[in-house]
Symmetry: C2
Subunit: 333 residues, 2 copies
DNA sequence: CTGAAAGCGCTTACAG
DNA sequence: CTGAAAGCGCTTACAG
């Protein structure tokens, strides 16, 4: 419960001196500082962040704003992994990061800049944003540093941490073909998601790499919906048997798992009669047999890099820019 | 960027009046209030929380402190589900909750009361705490409302949201027996976890319910470790074949999944040759075939109820107490 | 190297 | 019903 004043009195110095000592200013005599430190420690003194925020200009408060916690969205590992990544960055750095849930509704009611002012934030990480969310547009013209995880942010203060979806999807498609399955079926995500377009573009590059013509490939539009993927893949196989597409290249792991299930439910063997590949690298795949090949996006690393970039931007050590976190191909069996 | 002063000037009233109008005090003339509201809206005014925290006594700032985000812990769904629950409570309530990651190390460095003072918190939800964490002890003597999710908090300000582990485990054990498998093998969690003891006690009640003697039951100490569970269950079956324990009653879903895998790897059929049951209700089970019976703990609900209880305690509408969130038996196939 | 003083943006008795 | 003023706990020029 100690305030700076109590520390000052106990140390027999002024409040200003305590403040300077505690904040690591150099113009404090060493023994004065020592005494102040000791007393602060003893009293369990902690500066009130509210008071500090109110009086100080140069502050380094950051927060992560998480969208999509709303109750209709399925809980996935994304949030936990991002948090874990942020956390690993601040470990031992004597800093703390606040997290706030932001719904699309809330974004409509309160501008990001107002939010940051209200909570004294000097920079934010944004996770879970969807194309069309109000903040995406606002960030183009804001002057507070923003780092988007898995979402491209524009404007002079907009930075991003992304997977190179084009390269990654090209890679896994090539992997599929190398495994001897060149009659491809693309199990596609929803068009509203930017990643769908990027992965699609990577897919086409892989076709070109292998001299496969676009129109020899079937596309199942499954909108990242596992039930839809199950149905469409099942129907596809029932119709063509093993005579047409034999490789289901999926834009997400969950769709891949559904596709694999469809294959098995029809009495075929995954990775033998038909190959399936995913994208994301979710935990679930570790429990599915046979193992489905995928691209691990390394979300934890994204959290870490996002945090690191944000701090560097705030301190002026770096400029807002786009970082690509290296993905990893995980082979199937 | 507007401050209360600018609103006051624009409205032609004093700062005090603006403050009272915005905070819903009744002693403001209706048209004055209306004008102030309009102008505040127009200017995009938001009160600085820092200033408010500093000047006001009766504040209702709450936060969730999450332990176990440390990088060595596996990411699971727990955190995301709790957050989702909290979030569903505050939906539309015009409030926001801050989240902070707290490691055991940090707990050792900074007392909870100091933390709350530093961040102007009037109440906290604690999630992911382990037996032996420093804050558990401190809470016994603190005077700030604390709600523990899945951890029993003591002291006059300690509240808890729990599963009735004893009843739940008794229930699933009884379910197993009803399914015709009475030669039980308990796949046990680690002794350092309080839930292990409670589930064990529920297990024994079920034995008594069915007149089964304790020493006819084998216990595999697997410490909530899936690899250990896999090994021990496999060794057990290799040794006894189908001649002894036939029902692996597991204290967690992950151990149950491992047990099921061991069974299948030995060429047996899950839920036919041997039955397996879990505990938790994790998403993964929806993807494992055949479906393993389990107890769904409803973590989302726990988050919701925890938040609700905390707010009620802060407002004086309720006393710190223990809430049990109803679990649900999910049958296997 | 140190202290007195102003000020950050609010809330809240108090007076009228 | 409204306003002037004190105060919350800090930081930061400024003076010495």
């Amino acid at each position: 419960m100690a305030s700076i004043k109590e520390v000052a009195v106990a140390a027999g110095v002024s409040v200003s001196t305590v403040s300077r000592a505690l904040n690591g200013y150099t113009d404090v005599r060493e023994d004065t500082r020592k005494k102040i430190m000791d007393i602060a420690q003893e009293l369990g003194y902690r500066p009130s962040q509210s008071a500090r925020n109110l009086s100080s200009k140069r502050k380094e408060n950051v927060a992560i704003l998480i969208s999509g916690l709303g109750s209709n969205s399925p809980v996935d590992e994304f949030t936990g992994n991002v948090l874990k990544g942020l956390n690993s960055y601040i470990q031992g750095k004597n800093m703390i990061i606040a997290m706030y849930g932001i719904s699309s509704e809330m974004q409509a009611n309160q501008k990001l800049s107002e939010f940051c002012r209200e909570y004294s934030l000097s920079g934010v990480i944004l996770a879970g944003l969807k194309l069309g969310d109000p903040y995406i547009e606002e960030i183009k013209h804001t002057d507070i540093p923003c780092v988007g995880i898995d979402i491209k942010l524009e404007g002079k203060m907009g930075a991003s941490v992304l997977t190179n979806d084009i390269e990654a999807f090209r890679e896994i498609t090539n992997y599929t073909i190398e495994k001897g399955f060149s009659q491809l079926v693309l199990v596609k995500g929803k068009n509203e998601a930017s990643v769908t377009h990027e992965r699609y573009s990577g897919f086409k590059k892989a076709l070109k790499d292998n001299g496969i013509s676009d129109n020899s490939v079937d596309v199942l539009d499954c909108r990242f919906d596992e039930n839809l993927a199950y149905k469409k893949v099942k129907a596809y196989i029932e119709k063509h048997k093993k005579n047409k597409g034999r490789a289901f290249v999926c834009m997400s792991d969950l769709m891949a798992v559904a596709a694999a299930k469809a294959i098995e439910d029809l009495g075929y063997s995954v990775n033998v009669d038909f190959i399936v590949t995913g994208f994301d690298g979710i935990q679930l795949l570790n429990y599915i047999r046979p193992r489905i090949a995928t691209i691990d996006q390394n979300i934890v690393k994204k959290g870490y890099e996002g945090m690191r970039l944000l701090m560097r931007i705030i301190k002026g050590e770096d400029k807002p820019r786009t970082i690509y976190v290296k993905h990893k191909l995980i082979e199937g069996e």
